[in-house]
Amino acid sequence: MELCKQTKQDLIDLLEKKNIGLEGNILKLIDVSDDPEFEKYVEDCKKKDSETRKKRLEVTKQVQVKNQELEKLNEENVRIMTELHQSLKEVEDSKMTFEVQNRELIAWKEDNQRISLELQQEMAKSELARIEAEEAKTAAINDLDLLQKKKQTELIGNIVKIALGVIISIGIITTFMYILALIINKDTQMIGSTWSNMLGILLTNAFSIIGTIMGVKYSSKEEKE
């Protein structure tokens, strides 16, 4: 690429006065032969361009390194966040498990309390039934005792009646026979002694019966106590 003399001079002036020069790959295409002044200009511009590019390259590389570090940090952040999410999920899962277990325990406790209450009620019922049974037993024993007493009394009564009957009958018969013997004037010695003996025996027996009855009564009273 060839430039005219005026253009070359304008470019040189621009560089000297305003420090503005050509840059980039165009410098590699310009023909500088036969013009040492312009050759120097192109060399200066190339040098300036090279320095600028070197600086930019360094900065870009630094930015690139920083970017890579940031990317790594970002990846690390993402990894940590993922782990955190995972941990959070695990904690939530554990919480859910605990809640479920807690609910189960509460339900179990309520069941236990209900069963305990039912058991207490059943025990109270059982105790009541036992008391009732004991009362019934006591009543039955009392009834039986009463019945026995009644029977005993009846028996005693019957014995007394029969005994009294026999005693009175024998007494009456013997007395009648004695009176008859007196009326018909028969020997009364034998019948008299017999009558008195009989009356004595009857009285003795009567007292014996009464004594026996009293003894039985006393004995049954002691057994009861």
Binding site: N25, L57, T60, K61, V63, Q64, V65
Partner: protein
């Protein structure tokens, strides 16, 4: 010096680094930077069919291996450029990856070089510049610049 060069890379900052490095090392006169393999494929398809208004078809193409936001990766782009749109450019991978399996795939797709992308890219580009002529006349073997 390479007349025209194309860089296909999704990272904007690397466009600047690559442009400055190429300029400082006098590697190329003009550089076209694109961000996706789809965009690059479309451009090559138009050049191949003669539909493009841009007649400045690059002599050499540097392709990133993993181009985020693209339909296909750098190796597939190289395959397309080589086998679908004509094999007329020097083409290779520029990537931070150094996996032999990927390098073998790239070679199979027609890549001529593999430059490891790092903070200090200039020494590798200088070596590449020395080998460029062999790539251009198809005598240079596939090489990895570590």
């Amino acid at each position: 010096m390479i007349e025209s060069l194309m860089l296909v890379d999704d990272e904007d900052l690397f466009h600047l680094v690559f442009e400055d490095a190429c300029s400082l090392l006098d590697i190329s006169l003009s550089l076209k930077s694109v961000k996706s393999s789809d965009e690059a494929a479309k451009m090559f398809e138009k050049w191949f069919k003669g539909e493009s208004v841009d007649s400045n078809k690059p002599e050499c193409v540097f392709v990133d291996l993993n181009i985020i936001g693209s339909s296909f990766d750098g190796i597939e782009l190289i395959r397309k450029i080589n086998f679908e749109y004509g094999n007329h450019v020097v083409i290779g991978i520029i990537s931070s990856s150094n996996e032999p399996e990927e390098q073998a795939k790239a070679l199979q797709a027609g890549a001529q070089f593999w430059i490891i992308k790092s903070d200090d890219i200039e020494p590798r580009l200088e070596l590449f510049k020395l080998d460029y002529d062999s790539y251009k006349n198809r005598t240079g073997k596939f090489k990895v610049y570590r």
